[in-house]
Structures are given as C-alpha cells and as structure tokens.
C-alpha cells in the first residue's frame, strides 16, 4: 500500500503520520538505526486510523475518492488485466477522441472488445484526453467498436470514468447528444453480452452512453449519478455547499445503488481506496470479471433481450387507477 498519497479532506487526520513516514523515507538508514521499527509503527498507526476513517465513510467521501488524481484509470487496469490489448483509433468520420479508448484484447482465453473512458494524469495527457470528457467522435468510435464486437461475436467490457461528456460549442456542433443516443440504441440492438464497470466517476449521459451493460459493476468507491452532486446542490438547494447532502439524497454510491437494484455488483477496493494500492485493486477487479465471465453463457443466451429487460424495469411508477405497483402497458 502506498501511504504517501495526498489525503482527501476527510482523511486529514492521516497527514501527520504521512509526513512522519515521508521523513523516514528520506532518512539515512545508517543514522537512524531503528528505521524499520519506526516505519512499522507508523504504518500500523496509519492503517489503524485509515480503517477508522473508512468505517465512517459517507457518500460525499466516495465522491472525493472517485475523483482522486491518483486513482487508477482504465488503462492502468487494462495494463494488468488485458496485457495484449490493442488500441484501435478513430470514428472513421471526424477524429480520434483521446477520452474514449478501445480495441480488442484477450480475457481468459476469449477475445473481447474493451471500451473505456480515460482521464489523463499529467496536464499534457489531460489536454489530449480532454480531462476524460468525451467528444462526440469518442462515442462514435465506441459505437464502431460495439458493432465490431457484434460482427465478430466478442463480448464487450466497458469502463466508465467521466465527469460528463464534453459540452462546448464544438460538441453541440458535432451533435454530442446524437452520438450518445445512437451509442445507446446500438447497445440495445446488438446480441453479444456487455459488462460495464464504473471505475471512477460515472456522470450523467456521458457515462450511461457506454454503460448499457447486461451486468453493471461498480468499484467500491466509485460513483454513478444523473448529475454531479455540486450541480444538483446549486440547482435544488441553491447552495453548492449542500453537495454532500445532495450526494446522499441522490444515491450516488455503489452501496446505495446496489440496494436500489440499479447495479449488480460491487467490486471491493483495498482499504483507503484503489489509489493506495492500484495493483490489488486491479486484482480485485480481475476476480470480479472472472466470475462474471464464468456466468456468461456465450452460446445460446439472448443477451439483447436480457439487456432490454434489465433497463425496461428501471423507473418505479404507480398506476393510481390500479392496485398493482406497475400498471399494464397502455
């Protein structure tokens, strides 16, 4: 575990221990004879406090974790889980979007198509990837790859991590809404299975656009929401400071959404979040995906139908004229 990552606001209690640990790292082992013992003691303290903090975690904290700059991204997971991944480029119409990455890979001996939203880490990479906010051509590339998967009978695994689709003038001009809608319709049309994993932020239309899975997984500290809590707070509470309240009310965490039946599985993260131990986080995800793959019947199951039914049921309504919770179709 990397105990030297920067703390989030609710982890402030760790910063003193982390500073002490940092000092030890730079210390000369010849001058500090009990270096190892000191470190072990500090690490134990750190872990204890970390555990205490994470026991009390509230939805808003997970919002912060999901956006941590060192949180592993799609390509970090891919490097561990899909070492033979080949990135394919372009929508064949306008451009190649850096915020959506995809192509074929092998998983458990089976060819799959991966599609993932990709945030950058350095400034340069963030510019190239538009901070993980896809342009229309990103969704059109995704749609092309989804059709490729359909043509060649390859299951699809999508990785969601975006604060939203790009919404500038150029995106309106190239029809970002159209690109998202068509991507959704294409996922409804195809017959291969889709597994979607929310690995960080899953915000609004830019997220669901590639997340129409037959199974939808969320990492323990990822979030998935119709709108960012801050935007919700400023619109409904008229007070951006109410964002933590909005996060709770909107049910944006994996734990809340699993209870509501909106997602199918939570993938555990190492204590303190995936960014403290990306390799372990990847292994947890691998385990989850292995299990999902072992449940997939590739030969005969009607995945299009299952997907239709999965999304068809969402949206609880009552027919005030009837006694049942769900009215018969009009």
């Amino acid at each position: 575990m990397n105990r030297l990552v920067s703390e989030l606001e609710f982890e402030k209690g760790l910063s003193e221990i982390r500073s002490a640990l940092e000092k030890l790292t730079k210390a000369d082992p010849r001058k500090v004879p009990d270096l190892a013992a000191q470190r072990a003691r500090l690490e134990a303290q750190y872990d204890q406090q970390l555990a205490a903090i994470y026991r009390e975690i509230i939805p808003w904290n997970r919002v912060l974790i999901s956006r941590h700059p060192q949180r592993p991204r799609f390509l970090d997971f891919a490097a561990v889980l899909f070492p033979d991944f080949i990135e394919l480029h372009g929508d064949r119409r306008y451009g190649d979007d850096g915020a959506i990455v995809g192509g074929p890979a092998t998983f458990q001996g089976r060819s799959v198509i991966l599609i993932g939203e990709q945030k950058g880490r350095s400034t340069k990479e963030n510019i190239m990837r538009n901070f993980g906010m896809p342009h229309p051509e990103g969704y059109r590339k995704a749609e092309r790859l989804i059709r490729m998967a359909e043509r060649f009978d390859m299951p699809i695994v999508t990785f969601v991590d975006t604060s939203g689709a790009s919404a500038l003038e150029e995106d309106e001009a190239r029809g970002v809404s159209w690109a998202i809608a068509e991507c959704l319709r294409t996922q409804a049309e195809i017959h291969v299975p889709i597994i979607s994993v929310i690995i960080g932020e899953g915000m609004s239309g830019g997220a669901i656009a590639i997340a129409m899975g037959n199974r939808v997984l969320m990492l323990e500290h990822s979030i998935y929401s119709v709108i960012a809590p801050e935007a919700c707070a400023s619109q409904l509470w008229r007070d951006v400071a109410a964002a933590p309240e909005a996060a709770t009310a909107m049910h944006v965490t994996a734990q809340q959404l699993l209870r509501l039946g909106l997602i199918d599985r939570i993938v555990p993260e190492p204590l303190g979040g995936a960014h403290r131990d990306p390799t372990t986080a990847a292994l947890y995800l691998e385990t989850a995906l292995r299990e999902e793959f072992s449940r997939i019947s590739f030969e005969q199951f009607d995945w299009a139908q299952q997907r239709y039914e999965r999304y068809r049921q969402f949206g609880q309504v009552t027919d005030t004229l009837s006694t049942t919770q769900k009215a018969p179709t009009g």
Partner: protein, 314 residues
C-alpha cells in the same frame, strides 16, 4: 380563463424565468387581445388562435398548451389518453431540507394542470394510426423522471404493438435529479424501446418544441427517423442551468434549431401552422410497415380529457 391566458403569455419563450414586469402586465388589456411576445404588437386572440398561436406579423411562436398540441397532431376526437394515472413512487424518498419531492410533485400537478411531464395517447392523424406523446414544460420544466420515461417507453411500445407511427413532441429541461440514477436509466430504457420499434420498421417523427436539453435530447429526441423543430426552438446537450453549474458559456445561437439544422442534426424547421401537414406527409410516406385502418379507431376505454381542444373548454 383570462388569468390562464395571461399565464400562458407570461410563460412565453425566452421569458420563462422572468415574468413580464407588473407594469407591463397592467398595460395588457383583459379582454380579447394580447401583446405579441415577439414584436410587441397587440393581436386579437382569434387571429392568434387561428394561426396556432404564431404571430401573423412576426412569426413568433407562443407557447401552447399540451391540449392544443394534441389537437394539432390528431384527428378531431380521435385522441385517447393512455397511462394518465401513472405517478412517481419517489424511489429515493428525496427531500431538499424540509421540502419533499412528493410535495413538489403535487405542486407541479397543480401548476401544470396535468399529472406528469408527458401526456401520451393513441390517435389517428389524417387517418393514420399514431402513438402520440407530448411533453409539458409547465410540469417541473419538463424534467424527465421515471414516470416520464415510462410513459415515453410505453408510447413507443404501444406504437410497436399496434403497428402505429410514433410522434413525440419534446420539450424538456433535462433529467429529473430528484430520482437520481433512475432518471438517467430512462435514457437507456427509451433508446432500447426505440431500437425495437425501428427494427420493426415503424416510423418515429421527433418534434422539438420550445427548449429540449439533456437526457431527452441524448436519447429519443435524437433518434427520430425525421427530426423537426419549430422555428426558434432550442435543442442541446446541456441546459442553461447545467452550463452555469459547469461554468460553460455558449454563444446564444449555438443551441438554436437553426444552428442544429446547419450542423446537420435536424431535418427541418417547420413553422407551427405547417407542422400538422408536414407530419401527415411523412406518416404517409413511411407507413409501409404500419398496420392499417381497422385498428385505428380507438375504443373509448382508458380515455380522459386529453382529446379536448382548448376551444371545447370555452
């Protein structure tokens, strides 16, 4: 009646969030004529109504009621409302401090005079059987939650089952935050239903009225076989309030129908007086796979007030 008409003028396009100042309102006569929101000319009610509330002088499209839209897009007396009794279950038990979403819904119903942000039904249009959905801006700004998504989906499925053409008039501020991810899921749900309708080769005419943003735009609105906008309508991904939240400013023309036409996203801009005729033309062109005449006359079961024209109300 007079008050309602003033409401309607007050809620005119582009002035939705800022009602006319009181001194302006006082200047308005309270009998049979009103000031056009485009050119400020005083116009007779009858002239406006005869022109589907489009100013005969400047072409300004005043907001019209959902009932007027339904009348405009169906044969007289043919519309039968469906699923009008659907209500939200408030799956998140959402409250904003002291105010619950449930109360907000009751208020919205009172304000808008309809029970949700979409009214759906079956009808004929020039004899062609259609499934019709019309959104209601007055109901929570046309925000899409579970019920709106469900009603749109059922309208799509009804078109599919019966072999009808599908016509949806959209106007929406986006997704309804009070239902969280349930609202977002309506994008997948409606797109999935549309995929099946379109695979069955039944046509979908998507009409953009007023302002349409967010999840509505990025699912069914964009998936029309033909997409028509009224002049001056706005359509885009992020609505004004979302743009404010994400600190993005767009030039004023960017989300206008005219901009979207130029950028290849919509097929046509059709003035309201020609809209009915244009939709009829498309329905006739595209009716190859529809099921025909015998089924089109709706039974009176399940009907409600939706088929009453405004003039019937007088």
């Amino acid at each position: 009646m007079r008050d309602k008409r003033l409401d309607f003028l007050r809620r005119g396009r582009g002035e939705r969030f800022k009602p006319l100042p009181d001194q302006e309102l006082e200047k308005l006569p309270d009998d049979v004529w009103h000031k056009c929101l485009g050119c400020r000319e005083l116009l007779y009610d009858k002239d406006l109504e005869a022109n589907v509330w489009v100013c005969p002088r400047c072409g300004y499209h005043h907001r019209i009621t959902v009932h007027e839209r339904i009348a405009m897009l169906s044969d007289e007396g043919s519309f039968v409302e469906t699923n009008h009794a659907l209500r939200s279950l408030d799956p998140l038990e959402f409250t904003i401090r002291d105010r619950s979403y449930k109360d907000r819904l009751l208020q919205a119903e009172k304000d808008a005079g309809v029970s949700e942000a979409v009214v759906t039904g079956v009808a004929t249009l020039d004899g062609v059987p259609i499934s019709l959905a019309v959104m209601v801006m007055e109901y929570l700004g046309g925000a899409v939650g579970s019920v709106a998504g469900e009603k749109i989906t059922r309208a799509v499925e009804r078109a599919h089952q019966d072999g009808r053409g599908l016509v949806i008039v959209s106007q929406s501020g986006g997704m309804r935050m009070h239902e969280g991810l349930f609202s977002l899921m309506q994008m997948a749900k409606t797109s999935g239903a549309l995929a099946r309708l379109q695979q069955a080769k039944l046509p979908f005419i998507s009409i953009i009225a007023d302002q349409t943003y967010g999840g509505a735009t990025a699912s069914w609105v964009a998936l029309g076989d033909v997409i028509i906008a009224e002049p001056g309508a706005r359509v885009g991904f992020s609505g004004p309030r979302v743009l404010q939240a994400i600190k993005v400013r767009l030039a004023d023309d960017v989300q206008k129908a005219e901009f979207m036409l130029q950028h290849g996203m919509i097929d046509l801009i059709v003035p309201r007086p020609q809209l009915r005729g244009t939709v009829i033309q498309f329905l006739h062109h595209f009716k190859g796979h529809m099921r025909c005449a015998a089924q089109v006359v709706p039974s009176q079961a399940n009907g409600s007030a939706g088929n009453q024209r405004r003039k019937d109300e007088k």
